[in-house]
Amino acid sequence: MIRSMRRTRRMLQLTGAGSALLMALGACSSSAGSSGTAGKPEEPASARLSGTVTVFAAASLTESFTALGKEFEKQHPGTRVSLDFAGSDTLAANITSGAPADVFAAASPRTMAMVTGKKDTIGTPVTFVRNQLEIATVPGNPHGVSSLKDLTRSGLKVVLCDKTVPCGAAAQKALDASGLKLTPVSYEQDVKGALTKVELKEADAAVVYRTDVKAAGDGVEGVEFAESSKAINDYPIALLKNAQNTRAAKAFITLVRSAEGRKILNQSGFLTP
């Protein structure tokens, strides 16, 4: 939470500065997204999007949604995308207790159901990406991990996400599907916690998402395993009932689901549903 809040604040400053710059340039630059308004920013106010879109997104979407937010602001000068990243459960709890958000992108149907269950969404959530598990090992893979079964070897320090969080539930599903029993040294509270333990070389391996392995860069080495296809995670996105800026929020969801949005998401390692 602390990490995500700090990140959000920094992001706000960044996006704030960015949108101010865009507004200043707005008069002389033509933008791709808003056709017909190029050169005349004060034209029909109804056609132009403005204001802030507040997006609550799962922590695993941090990199891609930051990029999508920048893209949205570029396409719609005068708008601002305010992003809040945290665990899906935390965000869902925030939304159902009245947090002012426009869009919710969750890392699992279960967490989205917490919000739809309270009738806090407009329309049905749609799956916009999927995420697959991967094994993260320390760089160079010194223990020669090549399959899920290798993780059950004794002497290997493995961390998993707790079964209560999506990445842990998915890992358990993959283990069950292949009839494996694995005793980790720790059940981490979220996927980033599991990854950090490997990045700091405190653990030899962790079962995380492909996207996390990608985001960690050279800090870890990714090992794909066959059973991961049995535990693919769907990411639903939905417009929220309490949305302050419904039009811009709809436009943001459209961007996420567009070919352009998909490209950005694929770059982070997400799969097309």
Binding site: D162, S186, Y187, E188, T196
Partner: protein
């Protein structure tokens, strides 16, 4: 803690004035309005969330939850590790407090500031710092691993270390304050009578500051019991080994909020019982 009594004593002349002016009840009960209202607001602010916990607690499923082995395991681990962390804090913190209060060395102010750093540091940062120092790959942990084959992360020892890291400053501050308030001339008299400085510390100073140590120990124990961030970062989370109550609460919150409320309640009751029991006995006397 003596300050608690001072307002009453010092309020003598002031209440006198109030009595003349507005006919307020006499003696220590006469609280001026500008203090009473915000004071009561503060009380409500601090107690309301706890009250909410009581109101929303799923009383019916409580007995079932509390007898589950996982909860017992977590509670037991919490109590044992918090007590161990307090013991570590006393063993190391009291000497440190003495050094800070009774010796003079360059940069003492800075050292004192650094000692209190874990108080304000986000606990997660503390956990990461501990990993970087004592982890398998840490600057000290690397040698522990290579020479003795000891790795601390993911062990109960790591829980105790994490808790001691955040709790010890409470003890050090408390004991240092007591030492500064205690008259050093007693120790000096003892040394002039032939006692070594350590004997003087053991036989004269220590009994004198015992209430301060007790107060600090209670604070440290309570802080250790509630420790979450540094624990999960440095020690991880494994049932029976490193999953303390705060971790169990956090994880229960993910998919079973009712269980989280119940667990919080247990932690609350244990904390209140210990704080109330010890506070009356030790802390008001300090």
């Amino acid at each position: 803690m003596t300050t608690l009594h001072e307002p009453g004593a010092a309020a003598g002349p002031r209440t006198g004035r109030t009595r003349r002016g507005r006919g307020a009840p006499e003696g220590r009960r006469g609280a001026p309005f500008p203090l009473l209202v915000p004071g009561l607001l503060a009380l409500a602010f601090l107690l309301l969330p706890l009250l909410a916990l009581l109101v929303r607690a799923p009383w019916r499923s409580l007995p079932h939850l509390l007898t589950s082995p996982e909860v017992w395991q977590a509670l037991q681990l919490s109590l044992v590790s918090a007590t161990a962390a307090t013991a570590v804090s006393i063993a190391l913190g009291v000497p440190l407090a003495w050094l800070l209060a009774r010796t003079d060395f360059p940069g003492r102010g800075l050292v004192r500031a650094l000692v209190t750093l874990p108080l304000v540091l986000p606990p997660v940062v503390g956990g990461v710092a501990l990993l970087l120092a004592l982890g398998r790959n840490g600057i000290i942990g690397r040698w522990l691993d290579a020479w003795f084959g000891i790795t601390l992360p993911f062990t109960t020892t790591a829980v105790v270390i994490a808790e001691a890291f955040v709790a010890m400053p409470f003890l050090v501050i408390s004991v240092e304050g007591t030492l500064r308030a205690a008259d050093p001339r007693y120790e000096e008299a003892a040394t002039t009578l032939g006692a070594s400085r350590f004997t003087a510390f053991r036989r004269v100073t220590l009994p004198m500051i015992a209430p301060g140590i007790a107060a600090g120990a209670v604070l440290a124990w309570a802080r250790a019991l509630g420790e979450f961030g540094a624990t999960i970062t440095f020690a991880g989370n494994f049932p029976g080994r490193t999953r303390t109550m705060p971790l169990a609460v956090y994880l229960a919150l993910q998919n079973d909020p009712e269980a989280a409320v119940s667990l919080s309640l247990v932690l609350l009751v244990v904390s209140i019982a210990v704080l109330a029991g010890l506070r009356d006995r030790w802390m008001t006397g300090a």
